[in-house]
Subunit: 201 residues, 2 copies
């Protein structure tokens, strides 16, 4: 197989799959995601770059009916039905003690003192980099042929009480994963023109 153009770029079909034709989903086909695909997904996501390889994102994959029922009370009304019917809902988390893993992740420098004692540096680094990794998750899922439905409309405190009590993890946002029902996708919303969002200097 050969899918790269001579300049190393992906071809048009791949760009459609990742960006141009991919759509946030509101309803799902009745088709499960095998655990093997979730392992492939994590194996892609983990390779995306983070600052000093700090890798603060953590992922809670909600699959069972029992776990979905625990999640339900935390969902906003507009997100409830689609989330309960998605084969997998990922709670994208940030580990506020991510610096404890730097000895393993960034072994050539003692980077932990860059963070300890600086709450602002910890929370900024965890939030920026776990959000970046959330972006990699969305792209990796699409690259594996899955559809996504990212959401930030939920009761974060309740999600943390229910699923993250006793850990150093905090919730960032959520992503439903599965095989979407194209008939339930909303119309495409406008995007900002390049001249309104970019400067070339």
């Amino acid at each position: 197989m050969k899918d790269l153009l001579p300049n190393g770029a992906l071809d048009a079909e791949a760009l459609d799959t990742l960006f141009l034709e991919a759509r946030s989903q509101n309803a799902w086909q009745d088709k499960d995601i095998p655990e093997e695909i979730l392992e492939q997904l994590y194996d892609l996501v983990k390779m995306g770059p983070t600052s000093a390889n700090c890798s603060p994102a953590r992922f809670v994959f909600i699959r069972s009916r029992e776990a979905k029922e625990l999640l339900a009370p935390a969902l906003s009304s507009g997100n409830r039905d689609k989330t309960l019917s998605a084969p997998v809902t990922v709670i994208v988390c940030q580990d506020m003690a991510f610096y404890d893993k730097l000895g393993e992740l960034f072994p050539h420098v003692d980077a932990k003192p860059w963070f300890t004692g600086s709450e602002a540096m910890i929370s900024e680094t965890a939030f920026r980099n776990s959000s970046l990794q959330g972006g990699y998750l969305i792209m990796a899922a699409r690259a594996l042929g899955l559809d996504c439905g990212p959401m930030s409309g939920f009761d974060a405190k309740l999600v943390e009480q229910t699923f993250l009590a006793g850990t150093s993890w905090k919730v960032n946002f959520m992503v439903n994963l599965g095989y979407g029902d194209p008939s339930q996708v909303f119309g495409r919303l406008p995007r900002l023109k390049m001249e309104d969002a970019c400067k070339l200097l």
Copy 2:
């Protein structure tokens, strides 16, 4: 051309380009990025999902020698040489007045009042979603055959004084773009095992 597997997934070569073989770069070939490629890049990035389509990321593409010289004093010593030699450095910004564009971006609902008056909601939404869009930028650049070098080691206040004065934009992080010199890439750092970063419920 046909680069999708029967299940809609990208093939192995594309996954290598996006995730598995892609590496953060420390040195660059002497090869420019035409403006047309930057336009293609933005046209991919802008399609990635954000909450309520709020699209808070803004991008300053630093290309000219003059602009690079203005940027130089804000760079940490470890980031200076590679940034000055990169054909393009993107300052990934967040527009703290992103809600002023919601009438254009989310026209079916009056979403601006969700944000106005709530500084915490504004800064959380801008930071999360502009970071997500920064992740899309890295993936889109790789998809177009470019290499990336993301960085957060710089003097953000000085970058804002130099390039963003008089705007509602704040800096989030930076990404060098170009065609990397593979001989200058560092060894791959370890990643967290799935059982240390994920829970399946």
